[in-house]
């Protein structure tokens, strides 16, 4: 066998002829110098594809030579990595590994992780959730919002309607309606963890009547009843941990491009939550004697004002889609009444 010997005391390349016998490894250099190392003290790097094996001869000298069956038979068994190497050499097993990984990962990310996050979200103590919500409010107050310009009477009136709306809901005690001027965020309503619901003046002004405002508040209540805030937070955190654990050593390119699919996945989850909140809202409105068509009208007003971002890029389903669903819910309710 041919190999290259490095004595470890200097950087000379010493091509050698290698012979293995029962008790020792013999290496002879080009100029005739002979070396000998006892077999027992030799440790080899585990096999790795077609790379040469490197033998640690005596904690200083190293010998590099191509792998071969004779060498493998002579060296001690390679342990875990030896088994893995055998796995890597058989294409069928490699393909199987690829398939298993893809399936397992997809299942975990789309089903397993959300399931775990959702279960955990419901276990979070109310005190913690409210703390998170309060801090969220402080943050957006500081960053974006301003004091509401609605009159005290107007606010009181809306509050009364809101209280009637949420009466009897499982998480009724949590709710806290906050009025703000939206400024950058414009006509909007937000549900924060813990039950805080922020309603902007601009939305109140945009709405044609109070029914439309109540419809939006019903939607926000849906977010809280379904624990969407905590679920989103835990899903995002869980996704980050999982991806960090698996791709730990994949380098900058990968971490740059995790951002894209991550955003798309998160937006997908987000759209499902929005639909869930919409469905809750339609149901609640009907039960309390309001009309889901009011929701549709408000969505149409939104669409006229700002156009729409393509569905798959957006955190919300398109306004047109939501208006359609609202009208369907209204029509279905009418049909039930007619029957």
């Amino acid at each position: 066998m041919h190999g290259v010997l490095y004595l470890g005391s200097d950087s000379r390349r010493r091509p050698v002829e290698v012979e293995l016998d029962n008790v020792a490894l013999h290496a002879r250099e080009v100029d005739g110098t002979e070396h000998r190392w006892p077999r027992a003290g030799i440790v080899a790097t585990p096999p790795l594809a077609s790379t040469d094996r490197t033998l640690d001869l005596d904690d200083k000298a190293r010998l590099t030579l191509p792998d071969s069956e004779a060498l493998q038979a002579w060296l001690p068994r390679a342990g875990i990595e030896g088994w893995v190497d055998r796995l890597e050499r058989r294409w069928v097993l490699v393909a199987g590994a690829a398939l298993t990984t893809v399936v397992a990962t997809v299942l975990f990310l789309t089903l397993g992780l959300p399931w775990i996050a959702d279960r955990a979200a419901r276990q979070v103590p109310a005190v913690v959730e409210q703390q998170i919500g309060r801090q969220g409010l402080t943050l957006i107050d500081r960053a974006m919002l301003a004091e509401s310009r609605l009159s005290a009477d107007r606010q009181a009136g809306l509050r009364r309607q809101f209280e009637l709306l949420i009466a009897g809901l499982p998480r009724e005690a949590d709710y806290r309606l906050e009025f703000r001027r939206g400024r950058v965020i414009g006509a909007n309503a937000l549900a924060l963890p813990g039950g805080i619901i922020v309603l902007t003046d601009e939305l109140v002004e945009l709405a044609g009547d109070d029914g439309e405002i109540i419809a939006v508040l019903a939607h926000e209540a849906g977010h809280h009843e379904h624990y969407h805030g905590m679920r989103t937070g835990l899903r995002a955190a869980g996704l980050l941990v999982a991806l960090s654990a698996v791709t730990g050593d994949a380098g900058t390119v990968t971490s740059n491009l995790i951002a894209i699919p991550l955003t798309l996945v998160e937006n997908g989850h987000s759209r499902r939550f929005e639909r869930e909140a919409d469905a809750f809202a339609f149901d609640l409105l009907l039960r309390k004697g309001h009309s889901p068509a009011a929701f549709a009208r408000l969505m149409e007003r939104f669409e006229q004002r700002s156009g729409s971002v393509p569905g798959w890029l957006s955190t919300h389903p398109s306004s047109g889609e939501r208006a359609e669903r609202a009208k369907t819910a209204e029509a279905a309710a009418m049909n039930d009444v007619a029957d």
Binding site: V4, Y6, L7, G8, S9, D10, S11, R12, R13, P15, T45, L48, A49, S50, T51, D52, T54, K60, A61, R62, T64, I80, E81, V84, L87, E88, R89, W91, V94, A97, A98, T100, T101, V102, A104, V128, I132, Q135, G233, A237, L240, V241, S244, A245, V246, G248, D249, A250, G251, T252, V253, T254, S255, N256, L257, P261, G307, V309, P310, L313
Partner: protein
């Protein structure tokens, strides 16, 4: 393995006689010695098998196998890199890395948990990480150097903690206070610290890149950055009138422009690092160019996204091959007079924490 794998020439200033397969753009003039191009022998198909089994076993063992996966990947890339007839070696073993990773993951979970639920504790944790960054950087460099070897001799990193604190905590603050004017100088100091902390074969490295060269790089970055911001603002204004097509356009252009600037900076800094490295008179020449590198990165990105990640090994091999193509060792002698450095075992914890929190010491 033949000995004649590098061009052996002793001509002075004879450009045509340098046989090298890297894309050399500035040939050294007046250089008398031997030119050794780095070569990358790795193959994407071969590495795919290693990589996919790595991923499968890591997923199936809930991350425990990741230490073995990391060692196998590093060993493959090191062993595929050859210069002057000898391959690089990666000597680290999986168990110390596993322990280091365990510590790092525990820290990561604490970081994420406090981010969601205990923001004040989270702030303290961030502060602690920032203050510990110099220590993490030193540990990561020491670990990587200690377990990298060439021709049977391992590297060493002996940069001091005090200097690390100055270079990675104090100087960046200075850079910020000066509104970025001092930043190129800070970067030069940091790279000098990293380069000169390395030892090999009985010699300590000296760093020869000048601060002026760093300023040249950052001036370009700032100029392009300003142009980009103006362009994006313009597109946003047009979006208000003309609808969301301009928004989408701004998004895509913004992302690719950001990537281009990122690549440009990385390429230039890597070149400055290697070109400045002087080990006992031996020098390096690094000719990475932004155009090809950007093309590689962006096509890698597209391929990886379209293949749901299965093209990652191909992308890694491709990038490594280009980087090796652009790197050359300019040796002043036969490279046989290096001697052994001291060897001390190193813990992997610092290095792993650095990786998990992306404290970048790459070069």
């Amino acid at each position: 393995m033949t000995q004649g794998s590098s061009a052996s020439l002793e001509a002075v200033d004879a450009r045509a006689e340098y046989i090298t397969d890297s894309q050399v753009h500035e040939e050294p003039s007046g250089f008398a010695g031997i030119v050794h191009p780095f070569r990358f022998h790795g193959d994407a198909t071969e590495f795919f098998r290693i990589w996919i089994v790595n991923v499968a076993l890591t997923v199936l063992t809930l991350g425990i196998y990741s230490a073995w996966a990391k060692v196998r990947t590093r060993r493959y890339f090191y062993a595929s890199t050859e210069v002057a007839g000898s391959r690089m070696e990666y000597l680290a073993r999986p168990i110390p890395i596993l322990i280091g990773r365990g510590i790092a993951v525990a820290l990561l979970i604490a970081y994420l948990a406090t981010a969601q639920f205990a923001p004040i504790a989270h702030l303290f944790l961030i502060l602690a990480l920032v203050l510990a960054a110099p220590w993490i950087i030193v540990k990561a460099l020491a670990f990587r150097a200690r377990y990298s070897a060439w021709r049977g001799l391992n590297f060493r990193f002996i940069g001091g903690y005090g200097e690390a604190i100055v270079n990675f905590l104090l100087l960046p603050v200075l850079g910020l206070i000066s509104l970025g004017l001092a930043w190129p100088w800070v970067k030069a100091q940091q790279q000098a610290y990293i380069a000169e902390g390395h030892r090999f074969g009985g010699h300590q490295a000296v760093f020869r890149s000048t601060t002026a060269e760093y300023y040249q790089v950052y001036v370009v970055v700032v100029a392009v950055g300003v142009a980009l911001v103006m362009g994006i603002t313009l597109l946003n204004l047009m979006a208000m009138e003309g609808g969301s097509v301009y928004l989408g356009l701004a998004l895509i252009i913004g992302y690719f422009a950001y990537l281009a600037i990122f690549v440009f900076l990385r390429v230039k800094l890597t070149n400055l690092f290697w070109n400045g490295m002087d080990l006992d008179g031996h020098r390096f020449q690094c000719n990475l160019r932004t155009g090809p590198m950007f093309a590689i990165y962006s096509t890698n990105l597209v391929a990886i996204v379209l293949s749901l990640g299965l093209m990652i090994p191909w992308a890694m091999v491709r990038t490594a091959r280009y980087r090796a193509q652009c790197l050359t060792l300019l040796a002043t002698d036969d490279l046989e007079s290096f001697v052994a450095e001291a060897r001390h075992a190193r813990s992997a914890a610092g290095a792993e924490i650095g990786e998990v929190f992306d404290i970048d010491v790459g070069f």
